[in-house]
Each structure stands twice: as C-alpha cells, then as structure tokens.
C-alpha cells in the first residue's frame, strides 16, 4: 500500500495552461516544513526491533572472535547475526549478476576488506540496547597491513572507467603537438577522498510476510534495488514493495542498495519481526561509496596565439581490492576545449577501502578542478585573460568525437556570467586586488559541463470522466524536486492544471521511473510522463474524432490539441469539448495509456549532448593568516529547457556549494597505518556551513534543444559542482599568487608561501 502523501501547491503559484517553466514552490514543501514528510527511519511498524551493525576497526584481515555471549547478555538484546548465524541468501553477495551490481558485505565470511565494514548485526528491543550490544561484541582480529594511499600498491590499467568508458582515449598526437608547442605547462593536481554525507543516513525498515518483503528505505533506483534484492533473497521482484517517497539526499550514495540496507532485511528475516536499521554517521564512511582520491597530471600546449594544440590528461585513482569502480576523472578533458590533439588516460590502484561509487558529478568534478586549474595556468603562460583564453579555444564541435553539439549556449553563459560578476578589468597578474580592510581579493573562473544523459523510464496516465487526471511513475525525490517538476510535466502532458492531476510516485509498485542519477531523472522520467500523457490524449482524441456527436468529429488526431481539460481543433479553437464530455458520452469512467522515456539512438550517434555553464568566483584571503572565504559565486548555465526555475536555481546553488567545498573543505583523513578514517564525522569532515557561502547568484540561458529528448531537458543536478571547484581554486591563486595543486586547499598550503 502506498503511504498517504498529501501534496499541495502554494495557491499563489498555481498556474493553468502551461505548467512547465513556472517557478512553482515545492509541492512537498508543507510536509517538509512541518516535519510530516516521512523518511525511511521515521517508520515504526508494530513489533519493530532495532538493529545496529558492528563494524570492523581494521582495514584488512579476518575477524577471529566476537563475544556474542556478552552481547546477548545485555538486557534487551534479542539476536546477534554473525557469519555463522544468519538467514541463507540465494545469491553470493560477491557475485556480479550485472555490471551495476557492486559486491557487498553481508556476513558471507569472516574476511575484513575495509574499515567500517559490517561484521555483525545486533537486534534488540531498543536502540540503546542494540547499540551497546554491538559494542559488547569486542571483536578480535587477525590483522594484515592496510594498503590505503595512491602509492601503496602497484598500479594497473583499469578495464574501463566510469560506466563503460575506455580507460585511454587518443585523438591526434599529443606528444608531437606538445613538442612543437609555443607555450606549455605540465602540472600535477591531487584531490582527496570525499564522502557523500547526505544528511539522511542510510536507513531501512524491513518487514517480511512469508516470502513477501516490505521495506521503507531511501532509494535513487527502486526497480534496480528490487531486482538486486530479489536475486539475493530468491524471491520474485514483484514480492518486494519499496517505499521511498522522500530521500534525505542521495548524491549517488543511494543509487544502489547498499550492504547495510540488505543486512536490515536479513535481520528482519532472522528475528521474524520488523526491523529498523539506521547507519550511524561514522558508519557511512565505508560501505555506501565515496569519491576516491585522485592524482592527475595535465600537459597542455598552445601555439603562439594561445590556441590549444594538445591536452594530455592522466588520472591515477583508487578502487577497492575486491571490486571495480574507476572515477573517470580524465574524461573531463574530452568535451570542453578545442584541441586538435587530446589524450586521456587512467591508472588505478587497489586499496583497502570500500568500493568508490558515483558521487555527484563522478569524474566530471574531480577532472574539472584539475582541468580548469590547468587551463588557468596555460592561459597565464600565454599572457591571456582566462575568459579570453576559453573563448579562443571554444569548441564548436565536440573535440574528442568531432560531433556537432545538439545545442550549446556556452558562449552566452560566458558573456552573461562575466557581466553579472563584473569580470571585465580583472588584472591578469595575481595579488593585485585588496578590499578596504586589506584582504587579498581574487577572481577566478571555470567552465562547467555535464553530459545530458537519458536512461529508461515508464509512466502510466489516466484521465477520468470527472475531468481529473492521474499520472504514475515511480520516481525518486532526493531534493531535486521530482514531486513538483514531474507533476508539472504531467499536468502539461495531460492538458490539465497541476491541481487536477494526482501524481503518484515514490513507491516500487508504480511504473519504473529508472534511476535518479546522472542528472537524467527529470529528462527520462519526464519524457515517459510526457509520452504517457500524449498517449492518453491520443486515445481520447480518437474517441472524439471518430464520434459523430463530437464537435471534434473528423478532426483527426493530428488536428487536436489538449488544454485545460479540453480538446480543441487545431485549425479552429472555437471548436472543442471537455474530457468529461468525451468520456461520458463514450460511457467510460476513465481512459489510460502508458509511455516510455529513453535515449534516441540516432540522436545519440549524431550529436554530442552536454549542458554547459560558466562559473565566476571571488575569494578573500587573509594575507597573513591564510584563511579563505568565498565571498561571491556567480554561475551562468545553459541546460536545455528549464521546467521549474526556482528549483533549478536551488540545484545549481547546491552544486556550486559542493564545488566550493571540493576546493576548500572536503577531505577524508586516513591513518595510513590502520586504514581507518580519522574524521568520519561532520565536525571534522568539513562541509560548508551557511557562513561559508555568503553570496550566490545563478542565471540560466535558454536553450531549445530538439535532439536531447522530447522535452529538451538536459539536467542540472551535477553540473554546478563542475567549473565551480576550479573557479574557486583559480580565485585563490589570483588573490595570493600561490598556485595550490592539492585539494582541498589548506591554510598550511598558503601560509608559508604568502609573503
């Protein structure tokens, strides 16, 4: 059964007719500000027990002893699930049933492959008892030395990077071009391991009823989770009901069901009662993915006029010892700058950490900060303004493939962003600007880009004889605003006002809306919704145009348009009739149709499809103390059609803050002896606070893209991170004259070099 979710629109923002493009406030807003939006951990079915995982404190080795008896003696403890005491699984958690299935630790053996790995689960009547029960297990280990850094193991050429991209790509001869270049730079940049740290910890409330499983859990991909769980538990996917109406953020870490979530389900099976399992914040540093550290080398050459002749981008990344995910950092150099010779390559090392995963702009973000820093460095070497340099090397076709862009309004982004920021007149050399209090002021920029992807989605549309509509698609709202934007698309697709459409989403029994990732959810689920709407309208039009009693008789499908609950003749809008009249006359209570959204293979092979943007940053740096503050961020983005400008602005702000965070704050610090993360918390793993981002400004540039998808949407979830990180880093250089090449930039990196 689906939870009752009452969504409302602020009446001041209600629109009839065209919903797409309106800055509606969030339809889930009232629920969220009242604390009534029910996140997974807010559920409490009768008889529920609490499960807490015990995690390994070593990074590599074996568990040799668990004091199960001590845990069980603790008042309130009901069960302790261990490798030798757990329900059977139908599938090996170390198997790879499909390329998107990552290996999990489900107590399959006593092996430890990273710190914070689950080694047991304690189930108790209360959270307090389960927590202490887990501590009482006092594990003993056979410890093996941990391998943790980029230099701790032999590197190799990964089979692929990202999702099936080749690890090495060559276009032209970079070595020859570099040899003949008039200006060249070579620089190495290092980025740190980062953890998604969605505010909502991964949580699951699981109940079994025979071989039927019911779960509340945050998911960016319910259908994929259903398949994975079905395989693991040997039950049909249809037996699994997932409710994920609200995610407290995901950023990629909730794209695939994670080990601890499955352990919650196993625990429920073991005890035969509903179980709630919520990760502690520190337990999120391991089993739910991360952005791996990278070391990137860029070699760039230009001719005498500042035209690029070569970009060679190499990235060294880590993955886990037992599974494969390779951050495609160097691929960031494929699309942005018009260089006749481009080479990108990757190497990888295996370390004793959890497997890295997609984290907001995976590859694009890491690659972008290095590339945008390097472009700044080569522009300087050419004596050119960084914006002029980028314009001079503007890619009219996608450099790596030679394909035309489906649309690309980057030039306008540069122009508008620079104007809004006040870029003109920026001194070329660093350390020229001070504010009236004496702080060093620096301006930097970066180009943002993110591919416009499409996955697969389904939707089902219904028009009822009372004139209302229903749209169903099991989409995921992680904060990007699916409840609102998809309802806007649904309303337009059905030719109704948004308040006349019931939009059902967020559960796995609805048509599969695909994965909410890759900034493609609005485009993909939106296309499905649009097409389902079009299909049901077509059916309705069929009824009318084939019915002599209808004013639309004989108009033919193509000759009819739907608006405000009525169909009109396209050639004569005076003639039309309401949905209600059509259905009533036909004696139908309702009419339904389905639609799908997917990539168009022809468009994909003919065009390069990307969103673009330009980000401008101002930082202030204390000239003696080295503390940095990002005082202004301006971003101009071209991302196809904007469904809801208010929500898009928020997405872009969020991304830009992630960019600033990448450049200045985020870093998991690891003890190289133990392989444990020392700041697995939110006090010392710094993400920006409100005072860190005093001024943000976003503008969007219209793009009409007939190729990307039926709605012309490119996606805005991740692009904001790219460009921004480099812009901030470049601004720090411009303020200080110190080129930091390790991120985040620390006070100690600047301090000794400031005067």
């Amino acid at each position: 059964m689906s939870p009752e979710i009452n969504l409302t629109c602020d009446p001041a923002h209600l629109r009839h007719g065209s919903n797409i493009g309106q800055p509606l406030t969030r339809r889930d807003g009232i629920l969220k500000v009242k604390g009534e939006a029910r996140y997974a951990a807010d559920n409490h079915p009768p008889g529920m027990l609490y499960a807490v995982i015990a995690v390994s404190t070593i990074a590599r080795g074996r568990v040799t002893f668990l004091d199960v008896a001590a845990a069980k003696r603790h008042p309130g403890v009901v069960e302790v699930m261990t490798p030798s005491h757990k329900p059977p699984l139908a599938e090996d958690p170390d198997g790879k049933p499909n390329p998107f299935a990552f290996k999990m630790e489900l107590l399959q053996n006593d092996e430890v492959r990273y710190a914070n790995q689950a080694i047991a689960v304690v189930v108790a009547e209360t959270l307090e008892a389960a927590t202490e029960g887990a501590a009482l297990l006092s594990p003993q280990y056979h410890v093996e030395p941990a391998r943790v850094g980029l230099d701790d193991a032999k590197s190799y050429l990964p089979p692929v990077v990202g999702i099936g991209n080749p690890a090495e790509v060559r276009h032209g001869d970079v070595d020859a071009a570099l040899a003949g270049a008039s200006n060249r730079i070579e620089a190495m940049y290092e980025t740190s391991a980062q953890y998604h740290n969605a505010m909502e910890p991964h949580a699951i409330v699981a109940s079994w009823d025979g071989d039927k499983l019911s779960i509340d859990t945050p998911s960016q991909g319910m259908a994929i989770a259903q398949m994975r769980l079905a395989g693991l538990f040997g039950i049909p996917p249809g037996n699994i009901h997932i409710r994920s109406p609200f995610l407290g953020g995901g950023f990629g870490s909730k794209g695939l069901v994670s080990g601890p979530q499955v352990l919650g389900i196993m625990a429920a099976k073991l005890v035969g009662r509903p179980v709630k399992l919520v990760l502690r914040r520190d337990q999120m540093y391991g089993p739910v993915g991360h952005r791996p550290p990278t070391r990137q080398t860029l070699r760039i050459g230009t001719d005498g006029e500042g035209r690029l002749t070569a970009i060679d981008h190499h990235a060294k990344v880590t993955t886990s010892t037992f599974d494969d995910f390779y951050e495609p950092a160097a691929d960031a150099s494929h699309t942005l700058y018009a260089s006749p010779a481009i080479k990108t390559s990757h190497e990888a090392v295996r370390v004793d950490t959890g497997t890295p995963l997609f984290m907001r702009a995976p590859g694009e973000a890491t690659g972008s900060i290095a590339l945008e820093s390097a472009i700044d460095e080569i522009a300087l070497a050419c004596g050119m303004d960084p914006l002029d340099f980028r314009l001079k090397n503007y890619a009219e076709v996608e450099p790596i493939s030679g394909k035309p862009f489906s649309s690309k309004a980057l030039r306008q982004c540069y122009a508008k962003g620079a104007e809004r920021f006040g870029w003109a007149g920026r001194p070329l050399t660093p350390r020229q600007m001070r504010d009236d209090a004496g702080f060093l002021v620096g301006w930097g920029m970066g180009t943002a880009t993110f591919p416009a992807l499409m996955f697969q989605a389904q939707a089902r549309a219904v028009i009822r004889s009372d004139g209302s509509g229903v749209m169903e698609s099991g989409a995921h709202d992680m904060g990007q605003g699916a409840w609102t934007v998809l309802a806007q698309i649904a309303a337009d697709g059905l030719g109704l006002g948004i308040d006349q459409v019931e939009f059902r989403s967020g559960t796995s029994d609805l048509p599969d809306a695909g994965i909410a990732g890759g900034s493609a959810h609005t485009a993909t689920a939106g296309a499905a919704i649009h097409n389902a709407g079009a299909a049901v309208i077509a059916k309705l039009a069929d009824l009318a145009t084939n019915d002599e009693r209808s004013p639309l008789f004989g108009a033919g499908n193509a000759g009819v348009i739907a608006r405000e609950g009525r169909l009109f003749r396209r050639d004569d809008e005076a003639r039309g009739e309401s949905y209600t009249d059509i259905l009533k006359r036909a004696g139908l209570a309702e009419i339904e149709a389905s639609g799908g959204g997917a990539a168009d293979p022809a468009a994909q092979s003919n065009y390069a499809m990307h969103a673009h943007g330009a980000v401008f940053a101002e930082v202030k740096v204390d000239p003696e103390l080295g503390q940095i503050r990002v005082t202004r961020l301006v971003g101009a983005f071209a991302a196809g059609r904007i469904i809801n400008p208010r929500l898009v602005q928020s997405q872009l702000f969020g991304g830009m803050i992630w960019g600033a965070s990448f450049a200045l704050h985020e870093e998991a610090v690891m003890d190289h002896r133990s392989g444990r993360i020392l700041n697995a918390n939110l006090a010392e793993y710094h993400i920006p606070v409100n005072a860190d981002v005093p001024s943000l400004d976003v503008l969007t540039v219209d793009e009409h893209d007939p190729h990307v998808n039926v709605l012309g949407i490119k996606g805005v979830g991740e692009i904001g991170v790219t460009g921004s990180a480099g812009a901030v880093a470049n601004a720090v250089w411009h303020a200080t004259g110190v080129r930091a090449r390790r991120f985040p930039i620390r006070i100690d990196d600047l301090l000794m070099r400031l005067d």
Binding site: D10, T25, R26, G29, I30, K32, V33, K34, G35, E36, A37, R38, Y39, A41, D42, H44, T126, L127, E128, A129, E132, N197, A198, M199, E200, P201, F246, L247, G248, G249, F251, V278, R280, R281, M478, G479, Q480, G481, R646, L647, Q649, S650, Q651, F653, G654, G655, M656, I657, W658, N681, L682, A683, I687, P688, V689, N690, A691, V693, P694, L696
Partner: protein, 165 residues
Amino acid sequence: MNFSISLTVNGVRREIELDDPRVTLLDLLRERLDLTGTKKGCDRGQCGACTVLVNGRRINSCLALAVSQDGADILTIEGVSRGDQLHPMQAAFIAHDGFQCGFCTPGQVMSAIGLITEGQAGDDPERVREGMSGNLCRCGAYAGITEAVLEAQNTLTNSDQRRSA
C-alpha cells in the same frame, strides 16, 4: 532502574516512564513518543538536524539526556504551526526554497525560530548566516534559508509591532 519524568511537549504535559537512562531527548521524541519530525543526522552535535527548543532555547536534542530534561518545556517541529496555519518561518522556507531534500529542514526551522527569539541577529544577513551555521545542509539550501529567516524576522517583527500598537 526506572525514571519517571514529566515533560511538556508541544504544549501537552506528559508523564514519561523511562526504563533506560541512556535515552537521549532525540531518541525519546523519535522512537518513544512518535514525534519523528525531528531528525537525526549525526547523533553527535555536529549537524543541527535534531534542533528543538527546550524552555524556549534551541539545543541539539541528540546531546541531551532525556532524564536530565525532567520538567522541561519542549517545542518540536510538530508543535510549530497552528493546524493548517503555518508559522511565518515555515511559510518563508517554502517561499524562498530554503530546502531541497528537506531532511535538515525541521532543524533549520527550529533553529531559525530560536535565533529570532535570541534577538542577536536582527536584519543583518551576516549575523543570520553565522547564527544559522550550526545547521548543516548538504543540499546547500543556504541562500534560501538566509532569505527565509530574514523575511520571517521581518514578518514577526511587524506583527509584534502591530500587536503592541
């Protein structure tokens, strides 16, 4: 050992039997009183998601022992609006899109209400940002949050003036 405490939660006095002194105010609210609007983001005082007002002051309920709050007056997000009538702060959060995923939002709203009661920030955006810096938002809704607080501060001051006039 059992502990009997009494709390006034959102205006309702409750006598509570606690069988465990370890229960934090946050876990009491969420797991035992079915008030799940208050969120747990870190459980260690590091994020602000669990912010509630205790005797009118905002605190992190995850670092407060429930037994120690005996006799206190607690206001949680569930007690902020009057039925359908949103608190001006809640309305301002919606209008300024001061959230995305919404997970930090109950804490932000409670913190913002506490901030205004404290009366230290006034209409200075920089003081508002500093005063709201104990509430992390991973979605990065800070711009909207600051605008919302400033607007609500304005609304509340005006209505106070009207009331006292």
